[in-house]
């Protein structure tokens, strides 16, 4: 697939050390479930994002396995601790082998 996939992530720009922040992520992806049929009655093959990970300076925050029951444009919200200034790295793994990455840095202040 890999057409029109655009990751969007919302992370605060600054936080106090040790603070808890909420992270919201959204990636545009059709998440074809493999259950639908086209006009000729053929099953449209499954094409989804099957895994999402978020790391901060190499430490894991969440690792989520996504299945076909996740909606189009998968949205995920979770909370993370910020022990120091650094960079959040977000990775989405597509069924077709593509990997979509984005990163957001956060400062202490």
């Amino acid at each position: 697939m890999a057409s029109g996939v655009k990751p969007r992530v919302k992370v605060p720009k600054t936080a106090a050390a040790g603070d808890t922040i909420t992270i919201k992520t959204l990636i545009s992806h059709k998440m074809e479930s493999g259950q639908r049929k086209d006009d000729d009655g053929n099953i449209i093959p499954r094409s989804i994002i099957n895994r999402f990970t978020c790391d901060f300076n190499g430490e894991n925050v969440v690792d989520i396995v996504l299945e076909a029951a996740i909606s189009t444009n998968p949205y995920l919200e979770f909370e993370a601790i910020v022990p120091e200034a650094g960079e959040f790295k977000f990775t989405w793994y597509d069924d077709d082998g593509s990997i979509y990455e984005t990163a957001k840095s956060i400062a202490i202040g």
Partner: protein, 138 residues
Amino acid sequence: MELTRRNAILMGAGALVVAGLPMRASASVDDVIAQFTGGAEVGTGDITITAPEIAENGNTVPIEVSSGTAVEILVLATGNPTPNVATFKFGKLAASRAASTRIRLAGTQDVVAIAKLDDGTFVKASSTVKVTIGGCGG
């Protein structure tokens, strides 16, 4: 076959049975749970699942799972063609054992969350969602 009143009633009953079948795929749900827990007992307790009571559109149903001490949370939609929805694993820097997302539901059904707690036990919570329009195409 002549369309008598008796036949019409029989056909109606048959159609009802067929229509009811896809919503009862509970055997595979048990399999998925057993695979996750390794056959361990599943209790109730430190887990909550938040889902709307009525979802007008089964294509995007917002849900939230949270648990105080979970290391892993499995979410299942018991009435979907494939019951697995997602598995959340929380790492060292996860501030809370909670996450929210949007899921697809094929019809009115129970959404189940099972958490593996840090002491190795499993707890379960479920929530019934009424779905007006199913979200699996068809």
